[in-house]
Each structure stands twice: as structure tokens, then as C-alpha cells.
Amino acid sequence: MKIGDTAPDFSLPDTNGERHGRDGVTVVVFTCNHCPYALAWHDRIAQAARDYANVRFLAVNPNDAERYPRDSLEAMRERVAREDWPMPYLRDESQEVARAFGARTTPDVFVFDAEGRLRYRGAPDADHRSEAENAAWLREALDAVLAGEQPARPETEPVGCSVKWKR
């Protein structure tokens, strides 16, 4: 996807089977259970979801669970039960949504405005090692979108583990 493109239509099940899709200003984060980058950034993204309660946050796990069992639906359920998740954790079993978005890594962050146009894509912030970064790029993009403006930094390089495509 390119900045300004319209979000692909999608509806994916969460760990309870309830389906979710884009609605209003929406953040879609491709993520997973087994990747250290996704895990290192998770708390910062989750805190952003709590802080921007008027924004829909969707975490999507697209990885091939056959080769990476830690990303199975069951493992996702266990994780959600064990942790405090402020957003639904969706399973993209067919990987069609990840392909439609052009997701490359976990994490890979997409921010859409209320009309469904892509306004930010990339990493949550500049450094997976520094909690002080606090998902600054994601927050900066959301602040701009909620103010009806174009983010000053619409695109950054996504950093993380490659999406585990099925063979």
C-alpha cells in the first residue's frame, strides 16, 4: 500500500471468534507471538491503544502457524488470557489481509484516517530497545490524523521479523 491508498476491506476473527474490521480512524498492527521485535514493541503499542481510546486498534497475526506453532490461534488465545490486551488480536489464517496490505514485518504499523486512507506506515518508533520512545511515530501520526492533518512523517521503514508466509 502507498500513502493515500484506501484500506482493503477485511473482516478477521479475534481470539474469541468475533470478527473485526476497520471503523473510523484505525490502526492496524501486524504482529505475532514469536518475534522479539514484536514483543519488544508490544507494550508501547498497547499503551497507545489505551491512550487513544477513540481510535480503533487492531492487532493482526498473519504468520504461518504450521511452521511457527507459537503463532497458532491457541497460542494467541493463551497470550490474550495471560496479558492485558486493550485491542483485539486477530488471526489472518489465509494471509490474504497481510498480502493486501503488503505487510512485510512484525511489527508493521498502518494508520488510516476516518475515510480509510492510509496516512502512516512503518515502525512504531525509532528504537525497539528504548521504551522511552513510547511509540512516538505512531502517536505523532495519530495526533495529525485526529487533527485532520497529514502526518509530517508519513512513512518509515518497518523493522522486525519477516512475515512468515505459507509455502
Binding site: C35, A40, P69, R129, C161, S162
Partner: protein, 103 residues
């Protein structure tokens, strides 16, 4: 001392791991070359007992041993830093201890 850094292209952590390892070796005044070993497929991952990228071995021993039951696969390895944070690379102090054990 034989030092290997096993890596897989699906993880962007190789350079960071190599930098950290090189720094520790320099600080410990160990003059040993780091042998970079690319793991390219599942078969090689099984043969190498590769728990993920990056894996650093000193004289054949994992510098930061994986937990028991850790699967071998083409994956990015999850390390825990000494302050509790999750990291794609090992804590430098864990590497330092491993280097000291081997010298």
C-alpha cells in the same frame, strides 16, 4: 577460541549482534575472528540445532543457552536482557560471561 555467529536472513538483528559481540571481545582483549554462518533452510537449522537468529557459539557452546525444549527453526531468537526487557540480541554482560568462561 572458535566463535561462530549463526544467522538467518529473516531477522534484521545480525549486525547489531555482531557489533555487540565484537565490542565485548575487544573489551576482553580476546583476539579471535568471528565466523559468520548463514543458516539457509530447515534442514540446516535442524542439523545445526539452530534455535533462532542470532545464535552465538563459543567453542561449540551456545553463549546464552536456549531454554530447554526451545524448537529449532528459522526464526528470530528472543533474548531477555538483564533488566528484564525483551531483545532480539543477547545482553552484552551475558556474552562477556561466556567469553570469560571460555578463556
Amino acid at each position: 577460541m572458535r566463535i561462530e555467529l549463526l544467522w538467518w536472513e529473516g531477522c534484521p538483528s545480525t549486525d547489531e549482534a555482531l557489533d555487540g559481540l565484537t565490542r565485548v571481545l575487544r573489551e576482553e582483549r580476546v583476539e579471535a575472528e568471528v565466523e559468520l554462518v548463514e543458516v539457509v533452510g530447515d534442514e540446516q537449522a535442524r542439523a545445526e540445532r539452530f534455535p533462532g537468529s542470532p545464535t552465538i557459539r563459543i567453542d561449540g557452546e551456545d553463549a546464552v543457552p536456549a531454554e530447554a525444549g526451545e524448537p529449532v527453526s528459522l526464526t528470530c531468537r528472543v533474548y531477555r536482557l538483564r533488566d528484564g526487557r525483551i531483545s532480539p540480541t543477547p545482553d552484552p554482560e551475558d556474552l562477556r560471561e561466556a567469553v570469560r568462561r571460555a578463556t
